[in-house]
């Protein structure tokens, strides 16, 4: 229903606007800086005290999880109401109050697959940012072939016993709990997987940060050595974890690629403005390097095409049109585009884009090659581009496997 047609929604918008005016602290309306991003959890330090205030106020309304039921601490908003809330947040340029794998990935599957007790236990803490979650999926021998995972989970009567190793666990060293795929039946592949939750402070858990080629360490190798897990922390059916895993991956893929890997850092000018500065322009304002100019034009066009496609698919999906397995297409295109863009940024900066640290380079210049290196993972994480192309070929285009 179009805005302005429903008096209840108009009222909701007015109330929301008023509440935000009163409750969103001034510094929370400025561009987010990287070190002030709030991930919640036991260890959250709130570098900016207003971040804490903002989270508490939003969580008290349930608006960190606006559409979750109120019974589990959510906002209980309808789709339309949530749309209005997001518009109003955007209007005042409010920062995201809470970033959280719990909100983006775990919560939705708990709502669908967990029992009542589990929902009561875990969902409210996610809404309030009290517990920070990490995801235990990939293993050293099971990357693209996720279902090949080996982490063993044995039924010891009064508890599960977990042994094995995960890798690419995002921020496992900073997380409080983990949602984890484990093997509960070794005699079969997909049907031997279960979905388990446990505390990262459990005895036998160790998370070692992995240093990446970009120099940062957002991921860990995570080791489980005789970890005891209470029986009631298995979600869904025993050996029914693969279905949950796939559903969760859908949330992850759409989340990862929604904004082209969220590559937009605030305050960075468009690439052609950078080029004007680093390459120079002629009397008509055209870049002096015509070869680069043409390639940047192609890049900017590709960016526009990508963003239009994200918008189109969102709108068609909202309108109830069948848009097929668009997540894989968007994910594939997002990775390709983000790699293209970060490479072109490095090239545009020339020598100034080839620094690693220290004197001689600005902060923006030092960021560029790291962003380029980071972007190489876009076509690997959350399903490689090869897997995405397989998915498009098989599920969208219906192409068959080789026979026998």
């Amino acid at each position: 229903m179009a805005d302005g047609m429903d008096p209840t929604l108009d009222q909701f918008r007015a109330e929301t606007r008023e509440w935000l005016e009163e409750n969103c602290p001034p510094s929370m309306r400025t561009p987010q800086t990287e070190d002030e991003v709030v991930w919640g959890g036991r260890g959250e330090k709130f570098k900016n005290p207003e971040s804490k205030l903002w989270l508490e106020r939003m969580a008290s309304k349930g608006w960190t999880a606006p559409t979750w039921p109120k019974a589990y601490g959510g906002g209980g908003l309808s789709k339309e109401e949530n749309q209005i809330l997001q518009q109003e947040l955007k209007r005042i340029k409010a920062r995201v109050a809470l970033n959280s794998f719990g909100l983006w990935m775990l919560g939705p599957v708990l709502l669908e697959y967990a029992n009542e007790e589990q929902k009561q236990k875990f969902l409210p803490d996610i809404v309030q940012g009290k517990i920070r979650w990490c995801q235990g999926y990939s293993e050293p021998g099971a990357g693209s072939d996720l279902a090949g995972l080996q982490t063993k989970c044995e039924d010891k009567g009064d508890h599960w016993l977990v042994n094995g190793q995960k890798v690419w666990t995002s921020y496992a060293d900073q997380a409080d709990w983990i949602f984890c795929l484990v093997r509960t039946d070794t005699s079969t592949k997909h049907e031997g997987i279960s979905f388990l939750l446990f505390d990262m402070q459990s005895e036998g858990v160790e998370a070692r940060p992995i240093k990446l080629i970009s120099g940062s360490s957002p991921f860990c190798e995570t080791f489980f050595n005789d970890v005891k897990v209470p029986k009631d922390q298995l979600v869904g059916r025993l050996n029914g974890g693969w279905e949950i895993a796939k559903r969760l991956l859908q949330y992850e893929r759409s989340n990862i690629s929604a904004s082209g890997f969220g590559g937009e850092r605030t305050g960075i000018p468009p690439i052609y403005e950078i080029a004007k500065k680093y390459v120079g322009t002629d009397a008509e304002g055209h870049l002096l390097d015509n070869d680069l100019r043409m390639r940047l034009s192609d890049l900017v066009m590709s960016e526009k095409a990508f963003k239009l496609t994200v918008a189109r698919m969102a709108e068609q999906s909202k309108a109830g049109e069948e848009v097929g397995h668009t997540a894989s297409i968007i994910k594939y295109a997002a990775a390709k585009f983000n790699q293209y863009k970060t490479e072109m940024t490095v090239e545009t900066l020339g020598y100034q884009g080839l620094g690693w640290e220290g004197e001689g380079f600005s902060e923006m210049e030092l960021h560029a090659p790291k962003a380029m290196l980071r972007a190489k993972a876009n076509s690997i994480e959350g399903g490689t581009s090869e897997v995405n192309l397989n998915v498009i070929a098989k599920r969208v285009l219906g192409l068959k496997e080789h026979k026998g």
Partner: protein, 378 residues
């Protein structure tokens, strides 16, 4: 931005697809080609007039349905699917736009109702050399008595081999490269001093070269203002570019469907060729690229209906992306079909031939890369 068709637009789209698949099929196209029609198909065009397609952009007061660009885009996309030759783009889109944007009431009254009825076709004559370069117009129009005298030539005018009325861009002042000093003239086909040479083109659609040897045009047939023709010409060309992009999108869809079908039926080494991973990945990439282009075409058509101020950027974006896609898609269509795709009896060749012409008309990918950068401001 609106990407979802209204119910009426959806109905027009369905009607166009039905009509095209029944009356303008590839089989029909092949028969026309074999008969040497060179893109002239008056019977089908009369049927199109019956469908009301020439009037989609014409105001109701002049006998049209004023249905908008998104609507006409659906028809052009449908037409692209079977490579059909028709005056739709040059007349219903380009000619009508030129008159609506720049015509006097008298001009509109004379021309638009005839177009709506399918009784008059137009063709825009801009380029004079081998490449699209609309600012480079050198043809002269010299004031002469109460009118103008036109001298010069025009190259590869689409529909020029049959159009009743030419819309001709000539220079009343300035020099090649200037946008000011260009004036648009309406010149009937049978005007004295105008020589039309029919061309047999790669895509079997035909075209024409025009030579103007002191062609006299009365002042009443100036479209828009003298010296300010660019203000009409540029937006009209953008409409043509967006229309061509829609047509190419249809071409790509059909080429993809044909290839997709072949992947699922042809066997080699005891396997369906669509089960080979390298072909699966290439098909997935083609499909993804098509989705990206589809968004650009839809957004460009929407920008026209919404009267947005980014029409020029969107036109270059849509034309560049559609040209690039058509190039990839038609090459892959032949390669994946293998030998059979190289034979004249298969339709794959029709697609690549038509694609190369559409890619080039009103500027190829390179032209629009350049123009986009200039429009964005770098």
């Amino acid at each position: 931005m609106t990407f979802v068709l209204t119910e009426e637009q959806g109905m027009l789209k369905d009607a166009a697809r039905d009509f095209v698949s029944e009356q303008l099929s590839l089989t029909h196209f092949r028969a026309q080609r074999n008969a040497g029609a060179n893109g002239k198909d008056p019977e089908s065009w009369a049927a199109m007039a019956e469908m009301g397609w020439y009037g989609v952009l014409i105001p109701e007061s002049y006998g049209g349905s004023e249905f908008g660009y998104v609507g006409l885009g659906q028809v052009l996309e449908a037409q692209g699917r079977t490579l059909a030759a028709s005056p739709l783009l040059q007349t219903a889109l380009v000619g009508v736009s030129a008159l609506v944007l720049g015509g006097s009431d008298a001009q509109k009254e004379t021309v638009l109702p005839k177009i709506a009825e399918g009784k008059l076709t137009t063709a825009l004559a801009v380029d004079e050399h081998a490449h699209h370069a609309p600012t480079q117009i050198a043809m002269t129009a010299v004031a002469d008595g109460g009118g103008f005298k036109l001298s010069g030539k025009k190259t590869f005018v689409s529909n020029g081999h049959f159009a009743d009325l030419f819309i001709v861009a000539a220079r009343t002042s300035g020099k090649p490269g200037d946008t000011s000093g260009i004036t648009l003239f309406m010149v009937p086909r049978d005007t004295d001093g105008l020589k039309v040479t029919e061309l047999n083109t790669l895509d079997y659609h035909g075209a024409a070269n025009l030579e103007f040897d002191g062609v006299v045009v009365p002042a009443a047939d100036v479209l828009g203002s003298v010296d300010a023709g660019w203000d009409i010409l540029d937006p009209v060309m953008d409409r043509a570019r967006i229309g061509l992009a829609a047509e190419m999108l249809g071409l790509c869809e059909a080429a993809f469907e044909m290839t997709h079908e072949y992947l699922q039926t042809r066997k080699q080494f005891g396997q369906l060729i669509g089960s080979f991973q390298s072909l699966q990945h290439r098909a997935a990439i083609m499909f993804s690229e098509m989705e990206l282009t589809r968004s650009c075409v839809a957004a460009a058509l929407d920008a026209l209906d919404a009267g947005r101020d980014d029409v020029a950027e969107m036109a270059s974006l849509a034309k560049a992306k559609a040209s690039s896609l058509a190039h990839l898609m038609t090459n892959e269509t032949i390669q994946i079909h293998g030998g059979i795709g190289m034979t004249d009896e298969h339709d794959a060749g029709f697609f690549i031939k038509r694609a190369r012409v559409l890619e080039s008309l009103f500027g190829g990918e390179g032209f629009h890369r350049e123009r986009y950068a200039t429009l964005i401001g770098f």
